[in-house]
Subunit: 135 residues, 2 copies
């Protein structure tokens, strides 16, 4: 991902490209593979990596703005912390509770043969498959 894309992500999230936000955005989006994180883990990694410390409130605000803009998604994981995902396409997850690690599964790698119809006047919005791992 190029620098211009970072700026585009910020602008499309309604955010001015400040020093802190660019640093967060680069950390999140300038990578090959999907990145799964909690605000706490992101904060820890950012503090380790960068010179200037970014306030936790700024990280929360920026992450939420990206989520609202559709540049980050949220993954449901057991526990009290919220997990975010740089992969915003429809996909599934392996979860290793030993390491608290999420691993992406491409939507095409899971095929569901039989599924019940939605109740009453409802429709199916999306289907999430979560595969818990053990040793």
């Amino acid at each position: 991902m190029k620098k211009t894309d970072i700026l585009k992500k910020l602008r499309s999230s309604g955010l001015r490209p400040t020093k802190q936000r660019v640093e967060i955005a680069k950390f999140l989006f300038e990578r090959e593979k999907t990145f799964h994180f909690t605000v706490e883990s992101l904060n820890r990694l950012l503090t380790k990596k960068s010179v200037s410390k970014i306030a936790l409130a700024t990280i929360y605000n920026t992450v939420h703005a990206f989520k609202t803009a559709g540049h980050l998604s949220e993954v449901e994981v057991r526990g009290n912390k919220t997990y975010f995902d740089t992969n915003v396409s429809n996909h599934h997850h392996f979860y290793d509770s030993e390491t608290s690690e999420l691993i992406d599964i491409d939507a095409s790698d899971i095929v569901i043969q039989k599924i019940p119809k939605a109740p009453n006047g409802k429709k199916i919005k999306n289907v999430e498959v979560f595969i818990n791992l053990k040793n």
Copy 2:
């Protein structure tokens, strides 16, 4: 579910059948259909239904003892609250985010045709399917 079963559930959870615990257990298990709840919703319903108010700490403790004993399971739902489930068999869920309501799907009603193999030295512990509903 009969009274003796309630006492059995309590005993097998390592809990003496006190007034409060019997009241909670009856409320949870003396019903036909599966019951999905948060500690907050359970507390609200118990307060409405019963004469004596049960301390929140007692509800937390009792629910956790039931969960540890395998009489309740936990369901991952978006948000910060923990959802519990009186259905402890392997099954799946519809989720209506409008009403925050979970609806059970029997394991046999979902058939997965293709699934990726577990990474490295890991095995699949279980597969949870979560179907989000919309109007």
